[in-house]
Amino acid sequence: MYGVVMIDMVYFVIDDWFFIFFLFSVLTYVFYLFAKTDSDVNMSSKKPYACGLSIDPYDEKVPSPSFYKTMVSVFHMGAIKKMHKDDLSTYLLWMFFGVVFVSVYLLIFNF
């Protein structure tokens, strides 16, 4: 049985391993290119902007924290964040409701 499994595994590697490796390599390379272009910013070069204005290369890109803050504001997640402000009484209240929920569910569906 183990022999058959081993043979299957070897065939799988021979058949599909190249494809998997190739796909992962392409993906890694694409990410690497992104990382490289994102990191290698030449501060001294000032490129002309569309309307003739000069702009700092850093300012051409949206800073990633701003991007994710926008995403957070779009989804209105502030309320959930407010409930996670390290307030012990809030956490204990949640736990209490959790215990009630679990116990009531058990009593209704298991008795």
């Binding site: 990191s39 989804f75 964040k81 929920f101 679990v102 009593l107």
Partner: protein, 482 residues
Amino acid sequence: MAYLNLIVPVLLAAVFLITITSGRHRHYHLSIALSGVIFSALFLLFDLPRLISDKIIVYYQLGWRPPLGISFAVDFLNYTVLLLIIFVAIASLFISRTEIREGKREFYALFMLLLLGLSGATMTGDIFNLFVFFEILSIASYALVSYTGRKKAISASIKYLIMGSFSTSLILLGIVFVYGSLGTLNMADIASKVALSSTTATIVGFGFLISGFMFKAAIAPFHAWKPSVIRHTPVSLGLMFTASGTIIGLYTIFRLVVTVGNLNLSGMLIALSFLTMILGAVLALQTTDIKKLLAYSAISQTGYVLLGIGLSGYVGAVYHMVNLVIIDVLLFVVAYVVIKHFGTSNLDKMGGLGVGNPFLFVSALVGVLALSGFPMTNGFSSKLLIYLAGIEVFPIATFVAMLVSVLTLAYSFKMFHLIFFSNRKGAGVVEIDDTLKIILIIVVVLCVVLGVFQGYFTGVMGIISGSGLDRELYIKAVLGLV
């Protein structure tokens, strides 16, 4: 003679040795701790042939048989959990090698006490003994959280202690109810009596027990302690709390709900899994602290395991539990290396590591892809099984789980982007310790292998989950009826 029975004494001996002895070498205490963990791993391996032949190993403490005596019962399910805990402990100890600089004696003594609690709780077949081991690990955890002595760490530790005491009180209360109604503390004995003799008190008792263990696994709405605790502890401890703490909680819930209680909790588990998955992912998306992000991520992924149990997709649940640990180890090691390099855990202050760090780049990429459930990684294999279970039982669950996968992709790539991309020039080359490099290679290979050979590992996970589902064998073996 069961070698597994030697794990708790060996770990206890390590605690004593660390406490009472001192050596000149700077890694003296770490060496004792590592020796204890490696001995435990060897004991596990020595007992594997016996486990394969007997399917369950039962050891009666001092020869006293249940229901009066205390027994250790290890089947494939808790064997795997114990193996994972030891694996996480080894990774955590290697991280601590360069991370912990002061108070090593106290740190490693408490660390080994935590591991002792985790190991004992995994192996025991008695609910009161389970409570005792959980208390040991909880007390060690409270002390470890405040170990750094920083004001915020102490504050987090006190909050954790209060919430933890609430949960352990629930567990104790649950034990009182179950013992009062069934007259036994042995898990197999409870399992044999629960169908015939359960009363309202038994059900309420199980409710309290499950609630208490949900706190340990950080399942919503019992999850709030985890991010603040992880944020204020060293990364090595964060990994231990996140990975080992989660799996011990999940294992105990699995054991209580499926093997012991045989309870119908599908609706409740699915509802709580939705809450856990969504809350974890949404909060991970918002946070800018890498440790908190990983803690929320672990909460969200715990929801997947719970969903698998709720949908009766036990193979997928166990598969994801294993993957969760592997991915946690990978991402926490990356987080440690990155935090050490930048001197902060704030993601907004990181960036630009994409150039000059190919090893770290590829490792983190594999971790992020695995976490997001990218095909050919282990995360995909287990999530696929959970999705398929959902399609058969409750298709809305699959839809929600896939939606959370999209959120997972968003927050994991947010982390990846902020570390490796961003507009930061001259972030430099990150130094990675050789031992951490080896751990990274092992977990990266595991992520890929468990993803590529999905068919083979689904069979293995089927054996492991099947072991936890076999109530009859468990009852007969522990009560000595076979």
